[in-house]
């Protein structure tokens, strides 16, 4: 069956045509009012009035009057009764509503059970029967809709001012009491007009949910009204078709569709939507990984690198590394010749910024915040991603333009220098050397080196090499360095001048 047939096949029946019209009307009228009920916090009042309609219907039947007259009368009486209880007793609004509407509803129930007639079908009043909408029902709904929409359009500015700031409205001379009862009257009318379609119990959903959905999606009342109408109409029409094809209660199906739309708004809404929040976090995390990739590619060396090597440093599985590589390629940050990856000019610039901010932060955390050099690497890993260039410039200024970080690594634009470092492990016994840099990623290693007095700028003499490590003289004391500790230490390539006072040397920091 095609979509066309799905939509139009049911419309060959007159009752479905009328039902569709009723659904459209009720969906949009209720939606318009729902916006004002939401901002006025009158959701419960809608519930109260809808229940209070029942005795009106019963009385109208007993007195031979049109249902409409009875329903509107008791609806408005209930609204007035609630105001009276609230104003003249110490009972607050919520309890006043609860007391008045349950009383009215019970009265209606008693009357209906006394009537015991097929003319008043309790089930239909309570839950609606859109498929049984008559032509006169339809006319009634249309007239009601015209009145409600007309009044809201004419008094839009006044209603917004009053619902937003009643005090200012009164000070500007707006008759707030008149607006209050106008809105109550419109509410009663709407509820009565919706009875046949969704029924007493469910009309309140159509009077709250569309406004609720729209409220989550926008910051402006005018747009909220439009969105609410869209939600109301979509819920009513979709609900009608679903109930037709699934052969289930129509009013309840309409409400269910509205509820589903509400859940979607909660999940996907632009301001507080959960999915949005989730993707935002995910995107931030991705951004960090991408930055780490650039930084590692820069630190590992200027020449082409195997992708696996960079990925391993960043801690990225191979498949994700390839995805990231493609993304960075598209962004013009890296080049890929099929086997090796290298940074473009832009990628390099970005990486240098990150390294600079990282090393400035390390320096700052040690010097100003009093952290130990063993702890700062991890902190700087986080901070480097959150530091725009201006902030790095301020840090640089505050620190007096340092050239090296606490571990001896150059802070860009300071460069590593033409002469490469030599690993302490590769030195021979008798060499006198100056420590230039220390690997900063493992806090344990840093703590162990610190305990032995090994830090950038310190001069060492290699005493002996043994399997598993080195013995060095440091500050006149001999200390043993395990191979994994010694591997973290880099020395100046040129042998340090063999003076003992140490004053002639340039210190690394």
């Amino acid at each position: 069956m095609s979509l066309w047939e799905l939509v139009f096949e049911p419309l060959q029946y007159t009752f479905m045509q009328r039902a569709l019209m009723a659904a459209l009307l009720v969906g949009s009228i209720c939606a318009v009012l729902s916006c004002f009920l939401l901002v006025k916090r009158w959701a419960l009042l809608g519930d109260a009035i809808s229940h209070a309609v029942l005795p009106g219907v019963a009385l109208a039947y007993l007195l031979g009057l049109p249902f409409f007259v009875g329903a509107v009368t008791t609806g408005i009486l209930t609204a007035l009764g609630i105001s009276a209880v609230e104003r003249h007793t110490r009972i607050k609004e919520d309890s006043a509503m609860g007391i008045v509407f349950t009383g009215a509803f019970a009265l209606g129930f008693v009357l209906v059970s006394r009537i015991r007639s097929k003319a008043v079908d309790l089930f239909h009043i309570l839950f609606g029967n859109v498929l049984g909408v008559s032509d006169s029902d339809l006319v009634l709904t249309a007239v009601t809709g015209a009145v409600v929409l007309g009044v809201v359009l004419l008094l839009y500015k006044e209603l917004v001012l009053w619902t937003f700031d009643p005090v200012a409205a009164a000070a500007m001379g707006l008759p707030t009491g008149v607006l209050h009862y106008t809105l109550m009257f419109l509410l009663s009318l709407t509820i009565v007009a919706s009875l046949q379609t969704v029924g007493i119990v469910l009309v309140v959903a159509m009077l709250i949910t569309p406004g609720g959905v729209a409220f989550l999606l926008t910051d402006r009342m005018s747009r909220m009204l439009g969105l609410a109408v869209a939600v109301g109409v979509v819920s009513a029409v979709t609900g009608l078709y679903l109930s037709y094809y699934l052969n289930v209660a129509s009013g309840a199906t309409m409400v269910l569709v509205a509820s589903v739309l509400f859940c979607l708004a909660v999940l996907l809404g632009p301001r507080e939507g959960l999915v949005w929040e989730w993707t935002r976090r995910r995107r931030l995390a991705e951004e960090r990984v991408a930055e780490d990739f650039l930084k590692q590619a820069y630190v590992l060396g200027p020449d082409g690198l195997a992708l696996e090597r960079v990925a391993e440093r960043v801690g990225l599985p191979a498949r994700q590394a390839r995805q990231l590589l493609r993304r960075l390629q598209r962004a013009g940050l890296v080049r890929w010749d099929g086997s090796r990856v290298s940074l473009t000019e832009a990628g390099r610039a970005r990486a240098v910024e990150l390294v600079r901010s990282h090393r400035l932060w390390e320096r700052y955390l040690v010097e100003q915040a009093g952290l130990s050099w063993a702890e700062v690497h991890a902190e700087a890993e986080r901070l480097e991603h959150l530091s725009p260039t201006e902030l790095a410039a301020r840090l640089d200024e505050a620190l007096g333009h340092p050239r090296r970080d606490p571990h001896g690594s150059p802070i860009p634009p300071e460069v590593a220098g033409a002469v490469p470092s030599v690993r302490l492990l590769d030195r021979a016994p008798g060499d006198r050397v100056e420590v230039r840099e220390v690997e900063d990623e493992d806090p344990e290693v840093l703590r162990a080196l610190e305990a032995r007095g090994v830090r950038p700028g310190v001069r060492l003499e290699v005493v002996e090499r043994a399997p598993g490590g080195l013995r060095v003289r440091c500050d006149g004391q001999e200390v043993w360095l395990d191979a994994h500790l010694a591997a973290a230490v880099y020395t100046h390539a040129e042998a340090a001048p063999k003076t003992d006072d140490g004053t002639s040397e340039r210190r690394g920091l």
Binding site: R41, L161, D165, A168, A170, A171, G173, D219, M221
Partner: protein, 253 residues
């Protein structure tokens, strides 16, 4: 019209929640003055302001604004409550709030015109809020919200502005914006009444001071009214006065 006082209050007694909050208040404020309304908490400052805009009905006495009863003077008065009790989640942005101030000029049923939007924008600009014009009202800071409500009062283009404790809980930027506004309003010949606790600037920022403690203790230029004896009577024993050289500085306990 020029000669008519902006405010004429005669024997005004107003009750708030069943208790008289101000008694037998009589005062005449000429047009074009900046008036500081000073008194301790519970002195009836807010009550007086609310009675002036017709939000409270007097037990006895009369209020005339520009020679008219309050009901007929609505277009001439703008009122900014201490802390607007509005729903801060309301789907409305700053610009729309200011536009609401145009209501008395637009009138019932009609839509605001381009001219009204222009005025609203100009008022937003005067309080330095044009950059945040499209921010939802709840997403502004307290001081920014206060400035939006000030802009709304300005947009009313009223000849009398009543500001209830505008300096409470606002940032320095907002405070300066408000004082700057007071000067500008006087240049335009508009009358402003400001309820305030800020005694340190009361002497310089206002042309007249109204000392109120349920009844009028004194009304006059700061040089005459800002006297230790009168302030003591206004605040009861609850005021400490520090005399610094020639200048008197008052500090509330």
């Amino acid at each position: 019209m020029r000669d008519v006082p902006a405010i004429r209050v005669e024997n005004l007694t107003v009750s708030y929640r069943g208790k008289p909050a101000i008694r037998n208040v009589s005062v005449v404020v000429a047009q074009g003055l900046r008036v500081g309304l000073i008194g301790p908490n519970g002195a009836g400052k807010s009550t007086l302001l609310r009675a002036l805009v017709g939000l409270l009905v007097p037990d006895t006495g009369r209020v005339e604004l520009f020679g008219l009863p309050v009901r007929e003077a609505r277009k001439l008065v703008a009122y900014v409550p201490q802390r607007s009790e509005v729903d801060w989640d309301y789907p409305v942005v700053a610009e729309e709030v200011v536009l609401m101030g145009r209501f008395p000029h637009v009138g019932w049923v009609r839509r605001p015109r381009a001219e009204d939007r222009r005025v609203a924008w100009e008022c937003l600009r005067q309080v330095g809020m044009e950059a945040l014009a499209h921010r939802q009202i709840g997403q502004l800071s307290g001081g920014q919200q206060q400035r939006v409500f000030l802009a709304r009062a300005l947009a009313q283009e009223a000849r009398l502005l009543l500001l209830d404790e505008p300096f409470v809980g606002v940032d320095a930027a907002t405070e300066e914006a408000i004082y700057g506004l007071l000067d500008r309003l006087r240049e335009e010949g508009r009358t402003v009444v400001v309820a305030t606790h800020d005694l340190s600037r009361a002497q310089t920022a206002f042309d007249r001071l109204l000392l109120l403690n349920q009844h009028v203790v004194a009304y006059g230029p700061p040089a005459e009214v800002f006297q230790p004896a009168l302030l003591q009577r206004t605040y009861g024993g609850r005021l400490t006065l520090l005399e610094v050289a020639d200048q008197r500085m008052a500090i509330r306990p």
